[in-house]
């Protein structure tokens, strides 16, 4: 194996390397979420074609496969490392305490920090359903088509409106988005700490801003399904 390959493997196998990987992949996924959120919110644009136009623009990018492959890689690495951290934690203390509680400040231990693996695994299950429903859902051939600038384009907006008629989707999605908010409540500041970017002055600021961003992302995603369900 090449020297660089060996080094990379050693990083993967080290306790700190795993943190660097969760941190980098976690933040990259947050950036992806922000882009996704922007695309979603175009639904509320005054231009009725804005949503479909944007979706069409994204999947027509020359580099779309490179981007998708990159995103998939980030997800896979994030999940493998996250699960392995959880498994190591189980091994590191097989018999727990009869009584255990957090000592309080300055601890950042919270419901959110303790349930990263649970919220993460729910997100994973959600992702599979989500991708099957939308990315691999019905398209132009199945009649979900609009004409934009004289070109036939997939009518994702209509698919969205049909899917979110079902209460299971309309309420299931927001529920998962709340769990996403929990994942990010601890996740965002944690990623910066994992990358070594924190110090005693920055930590409280980033912790607070991370919480605010987590709420904004969760709320930003959950309004669309609820809006569609209640307005149509």
């Amino acid at each position: 194996m090449s020297q660089t390959g060996k080094k990379l493997l050693a990083v993967f196998r080290s306790s700190i390397g795993r943190k660097l990987l969760t941190g980098v992949t976690g933040l990259a996924l947050v950036v992806f979420l922000l882009e996704h959120l922007y695309s979603n919110l175009l639904y509320f644009s005054t231009d009725p074609d804005a949503y479909n136009e944007n979706a069409h623009f994204l999947i027509s990018l020359d580099l779309v496969y490179v981007l998708e492959l990159g995103l998939l890689t980030f997800f896979v690495v994030h999940i493998i490392v996250g699960v392995s951290i959880y498994l190591r934690k189980r091994k590191a203390r097989p018999d727990g305490y009869a009584k255990y509680q957090s000592a309080g400040k300055p601890s950042r231990q919270s419901l959110s920090s303790r349930t990263m693996i649970v919220t993460g695994l729910v997100l994973l299950a959600f992702l599979v359903i989500h991708i099957i429903s939308f990315k691999y859902g019905p398209g132009i051939e199945e009649g979900f088509v609009v004409t934009i600038d004289g070109e036939p384009v997939r009518d994702l907006k209509r698919l969205l409106e049909e899917k979110f008629q079902h209460p299971a989707y309309a309420f299931g999605y927001p529920f998962v988005m709340i769990l996403l908010g929990f994942h990010l409540r601890h996740g965002i500041w944690s990623a910066f700490q994992s990358l070594g970017a924190m110090n005693p002055r920055l930590t409280p600021v980033v912790y607070t801003l991370g919480g605010v961003l987590a709420v904004l992302i969760a709320v930003g995603f959950l309004v669309l399904p609820l809006w569609i369900f209640f307005s149509t």
Binding site: S102, A103, R108, Q109, W189, L195, G196
Partner: protein, 247 residues
Amino acid sequence: MTVHLRIWRQAGPDSPGRLAEYTVEDVNEHMSFLELLDVLNEKLITEGEEPIEFDNDCREGICGSCGLMVGGVAHGPQPRTAICQLHMRHFNDGDTIVVEPWRATAFPIIKDLVVDRSAFDRIMAAGGYVSVKTGGAPDANALPVTKEDADLAMDYASCIGCGACVAACPNSSASLFTASKIAHLAMLPQGTPERRRRVLNMVDQMEAEGFGDCSNHAECEAVCPKGISISAIALMRREYVRAVLSS
């Protein structure tokens, strides 16, 4: 005052353990928690029972020998205090207090409340030192250190190696201990020449001992009797990246 204790009793490393119940009356509020255990042990001895084994030495919060989970918190409810320095006045008459040993695969129980913390010694041996050639003492001002760096180095150096960070961590990670040692030496010119191999070797050893990974719960900082900040852990990660990139 009277306190009820539920204390972990375990005859040996491989024996099964259980929480045993004891009641101690006439507790003086000026006793330390370890003195409470002394009083209980005297009673047990006169009654012909096996006394409760627990680690301690200086009883003034500086050696790092003592360490108990008291009421579910490492070193008990008082922040920045080793359990030998926690006084009974911080409890109430009639309290029931659960007392357990540090629990971690890397800290196997020897007996009752005593655990084997030699994993920490092996992490230290992997690089928590500076190699100094003995000889004439260098001139005091030959190695300038800024006041800020000296203060920070002192903060990190105040780690007494008690293991509370591991005990309180939901993941049983030894990150705060290892990071304190690395950060302390990284702040000083004497630590600079070996910084690369220090961080790589100590982190490897931490892993080999079977401690968990850090999930940034920061519980360690909250229970550390010296209040060492998790910014040590951030610094350790920066040292690690620098070491990997520079090799």
